[in-house]
């Protein structure tokens, strides 16, 4: 890990996230969101959690971002309209950020550097998923199936 890479990734991620939150055009915001996710995956690569980073890109870019742009496409008659912007949110977000930063900087135990560890292999993750986490994994599978069916039922057109 080096600080230069960390700062570069942080700048890209946070500015993309900021663009996603504030850009006026919805499509641009959705694409900035995808860029922010790529930046986050770069963070994961930086700390050595490659598998999670790849899973993040695979799921967020390949599925969630495409879903979002499709939704924008399907509701596009409304996209051009201005929806307004509440400044109260900015205040609250700034307050939350200030509070979190204050508490993080105040906590001395977080000012540590990463210990040397052996690289996390995909095999270890697979073994953990198939032994300790086998029931949570089944539950997630069930949840995803339920979400799939639920989403389909929600958007299906009713026959007149």
């Amino acid at each position: 890990m080096n600080t230069g890479a960390f700062i570069a990734i942080a700048i890209v991620t946070l500015s993309a996230a900021m663009a996603a939150a504030t850009l006026r055009k919805l499509m641009h915001a959705a694409l900035s969101f995808a860029l922010a996710i790529v930046g986050l995956a770069a963070f994961f690569f930086l700390v050595g959690a490659e598998f999670v980073g790849l899973a993040l890109v695979f799921i967020y870019i390949g599925a969630v971002a495409v879903l979002i742009v499709f939704t924008i496409l399907l509701t596009r008659r409304d996209v051009e309209k201005d929806h307004g912007f509440k400044w109260g949110g900015v205040v609250i977000a700034a307050a939350v950020f200030a509070g979190l930063t204050w508490s993080i900087l105040k906590t001395q135990s977080t000012a540590i550097v990463a210990p040397q560890i052996r690289a996390l292999t995909v095999k270890q993750i697979g073994q953990a998923l198939m032994t300790t986490y086998v029931w949570p994994m089944q539950c997630v599978g069930l949840l995803l199936t339920a979400a799939l069916i639920g989403a389909l039922l929600l958007v299906i057109e009713e026959k007149p």
Binding site: N2, K25, M27, H28, L31, A34, E50, F51, L54, A55, V57, F58, I61, G62, A63, A65, V66, V69, F70, L73, A119, T121, V122, K123
Partner: protein
């Protein structure tokens, strides 16, 4: 001797990096990556140029005409002429287009295609970026293509573009599932997501004669055929080129692109095709391994590119032979046939593993695949569907 030829590119890279000896670690790492990237780009852009002219010539032969034969010997300099033509064309952006999205789409699509090449082992010790989850990386990068296609369709602000993009995304989503699932049996049997390990697992020979490639097992053969068809669809090749069907929707999501941006799309399509064939032969055809022990004196990269060219020729052959399918036929094939068959391959691989990976496993997995195939053809009523068509109103 043969060993030094086999490793010639690896030694060349080490020699190049020895100039930097004594520099900090990160500099050497960056330089090493840059060498890999330049090598990849040089090889595959040359291959792209070569492929674009060879494809046209072979298609010409298949269709009983000459193909390009004016520029240079045998028309081999045609790609240069094409490149110059593309470069000096006017770059037109529609007035109502979403300019930035319109501009970024070809860049993203080309970047994704090139990135996917990075994890394929091209020879012994010749994997550009040997990351542990290489297969997942390939698919993660490949999935950004869908977003890029959508960007092209949306950014152009054109009905044809949007229709083409919708078709392309529907098709890519449908075929990504069988593509990914047909890889699963390999990952299961090898126990690793790393392409290097998968190639290493196919190194030996059964009875000292038949190479232990996965395509020689029943589940591997079935998975390879499914993978190849899904790869055809993913790279938008005939017979699955509905997204850019010229006779229906101009050029699909590329309608509003001209000049070099169009060339970039074209290049991304070919490089995507190389990447998917490269992955296919890494997974099923033994990667860079020679097909027989006596042929192992030839360097490994020659075997890789030999196999790659055979696969690419099959792509061209398919393009020259089959007509375009309809979108509903494409969707039916994906969801009703390919997805169930892909999952059957996973089960057959498990059966093969638990029956001892030998002849018994071979027969049992064959039985599993054959029975599911028969069942599917009964359920889908293929006998009636593929019967000679009866024209009731014509004739």
């Amino acid at each position: 001797m043969s060993k030094s030829i086999d490793q010639i590119f690896v030694s060349a890279k080490h020699w190049l990096l020895s100039w930097l000896a004594g520099s900090p670690d990160w500099l050497i790492q960056i330089a090493s990556s840059l060498v890999n990237i330049f090598a990849l780009l040089a090889v595959f852009l040359t291959l792209f140029a070569l492929m674009s002219v060879l494809e046209r010539k072979i298609l010409g032969r298949i269709q009983n005409r000459y193909g390009p034969n004016r520029v240079g010997p045998f028309g081999l300099f045609q790609p240069v002429a094409d490149g110059i033509k593309m470069l000096i064309k006017e770059d037109i952006v529609p007035a109502r287009a979403d300019k930035s999205v319109h501009f970024l789409a070809p860049i993203l699509i080309a970047a994704a295609a090139i990135l996917a090449l990075g994890v394929i082992p091209y020879g012994r010790n010749m994997t550009p970026f040997g990351i542990d989850g290489g297969i997942l990386f390939f698919f993660a990068v490949g999935s950004t293509t869908e977003l890029a296609v959508f960007m092209a369709g949306w950014g152009s602000n054109n009905k044809f573009s949007m229709l083409g993009a919708m078709r392309a995304i529907a098709q890519m989503f449908s075929y990504e599932l069988p593509l990914f699932v047909t890889v699963l049996p390999i990952v299961m049997v090898v126990g690793s997501l790393s392409p290097d390990r998968i190639v290493a697992a196919q190194a030996e020979y059964t009875y000292g004669l038949v190479p232990r490639w996965f395509v020689f097992t029943p589940w591997g053969a079935a998975a390879f055929i499914l993978f190849f068809v899904a790869g055809l669809a993913e790279s938008n090749r005939t017979p699955f080129d509905v997204p850019e069907g010229e006779s229906e929707i101009v050029a699909g999501h590329m309608t509003e692109y001209s000049g070099f941006k169009y060339a970039t799309f074209f290049m991304a399509e070919y490089i995507g095709m190389f990447a998917i064939s490269g992955l296919g032969l890494t997974l099923f055809l033994g990667g860079w391994h020679a097909p027989a022990r006596v042929l192992e004196f030839l360097p490994s990269y020659l075997w890789f590119f030999g196999k790659l060219s055979v696969l690419l020729m099959v792509y061209v052959w398919v393009r020259g032979t089959l007509p375009r399918t309809r979108i509903d036929q494409i969707m039916n094939l994906a969801w009703k046939f390919m997805v169930p068959m892909a999952f059957t391959c996973v089960i057959a691989a498990a059966v093969w593993h638990y029956a001892g990976r030998g002849l018994r496993g071979w027969l049992w997995s064959l039985i599993v695949i054959a029975s599911v195939y028969t069942l599917l053809s009964i359920v889908l009523d293929t006998r009636r569907k593929f019967a000679p068509r009866v024209y009731r109103f014509a004739e």
